[in-house]
Amino acid sequence: MLLEELSNASGVAGNEGEVREKLIAVVKDHVDEYHVDTIGNLITLKRGTGPEPRLKVMLAAHMDEIGLMIVAIEQNGHLRFRPVGGIDGRVLLSKMVYVGKDRIPGVIGVKPIHLLKPKEREQVLEIDQLTIDIGAKNQEEAQGLVKLGDYAAFATTFATLGGTAKGKALDDRAGCAVLAEIVQGGPYPCDLYAVFTVQEEVGLRGAMVAAYAVSPDLGFALEGTVCDDSPKKKDLSPTTRLGGGPAITIMDRSVIADKRLVKLLMDTAKELGIPYQIKQPGVGGTDAGRIHISKEGVPSVAVAVPCRYIHSPVSLLDLTDFQNTVKLMKATLARVKEF
C-alpha cells in the first residue's frame, strides 16, 4: 500500500529525498512532465482533456514530516537534538528514532522513576534536557557513526487496525497518497499541477516557491489534519471526527478559504453522497496559506484526512475517510471551472 510505504519512509523537513523518490516512481508514468525544483519540490503536470484555454489547478501535499536534528555529540556518546517543526516535547520520552541516512537506531531515555524526587515527577522535561542514546561508548565512537545536522525520524511501523491505520507522519503522507491516487486517475478537464511540496512544517516554504513557479488559477492543499475527537474534561467540539469524511477548511490560521471552492466541494459531496465535515475554524495552517497570496492571489482551499495524534510518533486515520477524500477530490476536479 502506498500510504504504508510513504509513512515508513524518512523525510524530515529539509531531507525529503527518500519520500520524493518513491513518489516519482509512482507518478511518472501518469504525468506529462515532472521536475524537482531548487528547494526540492516535486512539480508534476498532467494535462487536461478540456478545450484550451484550460484552468491550471495546483494540488499541494507536503512530503516533509516533523522530526529531530542532531546538534551536539556529547563526551559520553549521547546525542543532543532540537525539533524540526512543531513538537510537544512531552511526546518524546521513551521513544525510538533512526538517525541519519544509515538509520542508526537510538532511544530517547528518561531518568527512571525510582530516582526521581517527588517534585521532578511533576516537571515537564524540556527538549534540551533530552538525549538520544545509540549505544556509543564515547564521543569519538559516536562521531564515527553520526554527525551534526543529521536528521532523526521516529521509528514507527505502519499497520492497519481493522478500518483504521496507524503510522508516523500521516501528516502529510496521507495527503501525498491521496494526491498520488488522483494523479493516477482522471483524465481531468483541467491542467493538473500535482505538487509534492517540501518544508511545510517549518513555515510552508516549499509551497511558496512552487506556487510562484506554477502560477495556478486555483489551489487545493491536501493534508492530514488535526483530529481531536477523544474524550476531554471540558465540553469542546472536536476539530474533526475520525470517520466523518474529508474535512474542508473554511478558515484556519493561515487562510480564509475561497468560499466558492468550499461551496463546490460541499455541493459535489452532497450530490455524490460522500460524507464530509467542516474543520473547526481557526486551527492549524497549510500550504494553502502560501498559495492563496502567491503573486496577485489564488483562490484556495484545504481538504484533509482527519488524523489523530499528529506531530507525535504515531498517528491514526480512518481508511474510509482516506478513500472518500480521494473520491471527493477526483469528482471536484471534474467540475472546477473559472469563477
Binding site: D88, S94, K111, L115, T131, P231, V283
Partner: protein
Amino acid sequence: MAALDFLKQLSAASGVSGYEAAVRKIIADEFQPYSDEVRTDKLGSVIGLKRANTGQAAQGKIMLAGHLDEIGLMVTKIEKGFLRFTQVGGFDVRVLLGQEVLLHGQRPLPGIIGSRPPHVLPADERDKVIPMDELWIDVGLPEAEVNDLVQVGDLVTVTRTVVELKNNLVSGKAFDDRAAVVCLAECLRHLAAMKHSWDVYAVATVQEETGLKGAMTAAFGISPDIGIAIDVGHGDMPGVPEADTLKLGQGPGIAFGPNIHPKLYEKLVAVAKANEIPYQVDPVPGATGTDAWAIQVTKEGIPTALLDIPLRYMHTSVETLSTTDLERIGRLLALFIASLDDKTLGELKA
C-alpha cells in the same frame, strides 16, 4: 537458545503482574532441557530444579530468583470507544504519552496512548504533566466494536520491538526483569556441563512489581539455604550522578548492604575475581527493591545476595542493557554454584 534470542522472545511476550501465563510457558520450555524437573507453584512462579549431580546427597539448596512479570496498565472505563486506565506497577506517567500499546481484550488490540496535538493546546497547558486519568488508549475501532471486545479490567502492555544498538547494547520493554530470566537460563545451560553438589532452584518469580509476592511464596515453598536474586540496577546515563549508577558493559553489580549477607557478597566477589569476570560494587544502604528483600526474611531467615544487571531508563519502553553483561551473570552464577560444598553453610555462620 542464545541469550539475545531468548531475551527478544521474552520481551515480545505479554505478562503483566498477576497475568503471567504466556511468559511462563516460554520459560518452562526453555528451562526444560536443562532441568530435572520444571513445575509451577500456586502463585504462578516457574521453578526449574537441577539436582546435585555428584552422586551423593545434596549438601544444600540454592534458590536463584529473577522476576518474569512486567509493569502494565489496566482498563478502568470505556468512554465512547476510548479506554481510560490505571497502572499495574510503577509508571512515570510522563513516558506514556504517544506510546504504542497492546490491549488484551477478547483478542489483542494494538492501540495508542493519545495526546492532543500542539495546535489545539493553549500555551499554559504545555507546561504541565498530563495526569494518568486524563490520558486514554485508542484502538482505532468503532465504539460498538470496542464495547464488544474490551471490558473493564482488561490488561494492557507497552509495545516495543527489541532494537540492537552499538556495543552489544539492546533496547526494549520488560527487560526488567526478563533479562534476569535469561541469566537463569544461561546459568542452567552452563551447569549442564558442570559438577555441583547443591540442588539448584532456578525460579522465574511472579508479581514482583506489585509486592515481591512470587519470591515470598516460592522461597517459603523451597526453603533454600541460600538465595540469590537477579534484578536490574540503574545504568549510567546523562543527568544522573555516577554514585547512583552502574556502567553498562562492565559486568554485573554485586550488591552490598543490610539486605545482603556479607559472606555471600565476599564469595561472589571471590568467584568473579578468580574467573576474571568483570563486576562492579553496588552499595545499597537500604531496601534493594528486589526479590532479595523478601527472600532474606522468609521463615527464619535466608542468607541472600543480589546481582544487578546494569540497565538504563528503567520502567520505560526503551530499557537498555548490554547482552555481554547477561552472559557474564550466567557464568558467574554457574561458577558460584559449582563452588558450593559441605563447608559453605558453616562459613556463612562464622
